[in-house]
């Protein structure tokens, strides 16, 4: 060990070159794993977390999505009725059932003459919003007709009438004007305190604007857990009770979707106690002539793509290490030739072949270890740079790459292994040195 360390200290240029090669490979591996982990974490919190894996979305059979109200295509049999919701609620492993009905997108005007260009109005049992994981920022779910709960997104994008009209005109006449988009984005991201205000929905009826009755904003929801506010602004929902929905439908001449005597829904969200019960429950729900879907397949697909990405990134790191190992083999072989006399002397002094071989392997593994340690420093620098870039350029503050302690031993292990593997040939070659020829002086 002392001999190997002495050689490493003495041959500074060779040591520096080998260490650089290995450190780049090691850094590549650490960075690759860290990016993979960060991407996985990001996907889990921002995308898979938003997917709500423990939920089954139930829709009427024959409908291609929400908003159709279980129309005639599926017939009465395929409707998502109150009776069926009750049945689903009675299934084992069902934690909660939340039925919704879409009323559509509306332009909204507030009592202080602010305008929001598009809010999706959804009928839901307001008392169950908390069960969906929603948190109230202000107010709460009021039971009276006309009460509305806005989500975080629905409190953004409100503009006064004049600005709204000016921006709409500019978009028609000068859509490529960057200043227009800058101003537009500024308004889109601005949060307005809507709590306690009255709003009216505007409906086009035969090219005539029809203004709905006054509604009262009884509650405002916070940004959903695990989501970034900057992305939440694009999801604008106004939640009303089913009674309010019927009151609105009458006032704005909206289609109620069905002639059925009982209430029908566009979709039902079923929360399940355990992910493994999702598929059996879906089978049961299908027997009620309803469509049931979940996000597990999507999660698996994302996870599979992520695994592929990680494997490729790891492959790149290993490839760089392989290239680095060539530099070690060359340096060590050179070193073996330059130190032939020294090896000969050691043999004369009683060193046997395994001892000489081990000395070179220790030297190579030390080079690997030093390269690995330098690689950790490089990895930190690269990742700091990447984080700054992501925050500054991409604005994805949720995607922060971190070097976890668990990745460091992996990087070091790869580096030391590269050192050892690269040192084997030179070590064997050194051990085979003929002592007599080596100590002979010309």
């Amino acid at each position: 060990m002392r001999l190997a360390w002495g050689q490493i200290k003495r041959r500074k240029v060779v040591t520096a070159l080998c260490m650089t090669g290995i450190s780049i490979g090691c850094a590549a591996i650490i960075v690759a794993i860290s990016i993979g982990n960060a991407a996985q974490g990001y996907l889990e919190t921002e995308i898979i977390g938003g997917m709500k894996l423990d939920e089954i979305t139930v829709t009427p059979q024959g409908s291609s999505g929400p908003g159709e109200g279980g129309g005639a295509a599926g017939g009465e049999r395929g409707l998502l009725t109150d009776d069926k919701v009750q049945v689903i609620q009675g299934f084992n492993h069902v934690k909660s059932v939340i039925a919704t009905k879409q009323l559509g997108y509306f332009r909204s005007i507030s009592s202080d003459n602010l305008i929001s260009e598009g809010v999706n109005v959804v009928a839901v049992d307001l008392s169950k919003l908390k069960e969906q994981g929603q948190r109230f920022k202000e107010g709460g779910a009021l039971e009276q007709i006309g009460a509305v709960v806005l989500n975080y997104g629905a409190t953004t994008g409100w503009k006064d009438a004049e600005t709204s009209e000016r921006l709409t005109n500019m978009m028609n006449t000068d859509p490529n004007n960057p200043k227009l988009w800058e101003e537009f984005q500024m308004y889109e991201g601005t949060v307005t305190d809507m709590s306690g205000k009255s709003i009216q929905l505007e409906q086009m009826d035969n090219e005539k604007k029809l203004l709905g009755p006054q509604m009262y904003v009884g509650g405002v929801l916070d940004v959903p857990t695990g989501r970034e506010a900057q992305f939440a602004i694009y999801d604008r929902q106004a939640y009303v009770s089913f009674d309010t929905a019927e009151w609105l439908a009458d006032s704005l001449n909206l289609q109620n979707g069905t002639a059925s005597k009982q209430r029908v829904y566009d979709s039902v969200t079923v929360k399940v106690d355990d992910l493994q019960n999702i598929k059996p429950l879906e089978d049961l729900i299908s027997k009620l002539a309803l469509n049931a879907s979940d996000n597990l397949a999507m999660r698996d697909q994302i996870a599979s793509q992520l695994d592929t990405f990680k494997a490729i990134a790891l492959g790149v790191g290993v490839f760089i290490l392989l290239l680095a190992s060539i530099s070690i083999i060359v340096a060590m072989t050179m070193s073996t030739h330059q130190r032939r006399r020294q090896i000969g002397i050691m043999k004369v002094l009683g060193a046997n072949m395994p001892q000489i071989r081990n000395m070179f392997i220790v030297e190579a593994s030390l080079l690997g270890l030093l390269g690995g340690l330098l690689g950790i420093v490089f990895a930190y620098l690269i990742i700091n740079g990447l984080n700054s870039f992501i925050t500054a350029s991409a604005g994805m503050s949720g995607l922060q790459i971190a070097v976890t302690l668990g990745t460091l031993p992996i990087g070091i292990a790869f580096a030391v292994m590269t050192g050892i593997l690269s040192g084997i040939y030179p070590a064997i070659s050194a051990a085979r040195t003929n002592a007599l020829l080596a100590i002979k002086r010309d």
């Binding site: 002397i345 002094l349 060193a351």
Partner: protein, 256 residues
């Protein structure tokens, strides 16, 4: 201690076979200090390599501590050298990346002796050779004579049966040469270690109690020491040996 029986050695040069040593036969007793004298090309280096187990003779046997080293393979020879043979080189051959003390310890490292024992023994020998205060220095910080003292200490650390010194004073000035010879003689006396000193310098051989002379691959008989070498060889002759130096002969090609 060291016994050579009819040792001959040949080198192949293409189709030509060149015999460099002819039926060498002699014995060195434990605690003796002998000079192996010969001019360049006389075969003394080849003989040294054979005795040290670095080469195998074409014919004959070499016994050290009653073991015939000719029969041993490379790894067994390495183990044997470790225990029974010490080396002193003309150019010291110290490892530049190790300190003086670590250089002396090196043969014990190969024997897996514990660091504390190695350190203690190395320091004792360095004190004996007069460079105990230089233990922490590196070879490049020492003079030639001091480096050779390190080399002598290193050769003694395994308490070998025999120490082969190959031109140990070849790189030194006269004053230092005398110092080194004096140290080796003192160690020979105090530790009863057998020394075989290969040299071409009469002055060195003159200080040994016994001298074996080689000329053109043959052991030179004492009565021939005065006869000039064939082909004008510059081999020394007995007349140049100082009085008191004992040279023995026991038949053709044999000295003991």
């Amino acid at each position: 201690m060291l016994r050579l029986e009819n040792v001959s050695h040949s080198f192949k040069n293409g189709n030509e076979v060149l015999k460099v040593l002819h039926n060498i036969q002699f014995e060195v007793q434990k605690g003796e200090m002998i000079a192996l004298l010969g001019s360049s090309g006389s075969g003394k280096s080849t003989l040294l390599n054979l005795m040290a187990g670095l080469m195998k003779p074409t014919e004959g046997h070499i016994y050290i501590a009653d073991q015939d080293i000719v029969k041993y393979g490379e790894n067994k020879l390495a183990v044997f050298r470790r225990k029974h043979i010490g080396f002193i080189f003309q150019a010291y051959e110290l490892i530049p990346t190790l300190t003086v003390r670590e250089n002396v310890e090196l043969p014990l490292v190969f024997q897996s002796v514990s660091p504390s024992k190695r350190r203690k023994k190395a320091m004792e020998l360095l004190e004996m050779t007069g460079i105990g205060d230089k233990a922490a220095l590196y070879p490049s910080q020492l003079s030639g004579g001091q480096q050779q003292r390190v080399s002598i200490s290193r050769s003694l650390i395994t308490e070998p049966s025999v120490i082969f010194a190959d031109e140990p004073t070849g790189n030194l000035d006269t004053k230092t040469e005398e110092e080194i010879i004096r140290i080796m003689m003192a160690l020979n006396e105090s530790m009863n270690t057998t020394f075989v000193i290969v040299t071409h310098e009469m002055e060195v051989a003159a200080q040994m109690k016994k001298t074996i002379m080689l000329r053109d691959g043959y052991l030179v008989q004492p009565e021939e020491y005065t006869r000039p070498a064939a082909g004008g060889s510059k081999a020394p002759n007995a007349s140049s040996l100082p009085s008191g130096v004992e040279v023995h002969s026991e038949g053709a090609g044999e000295v003991s």
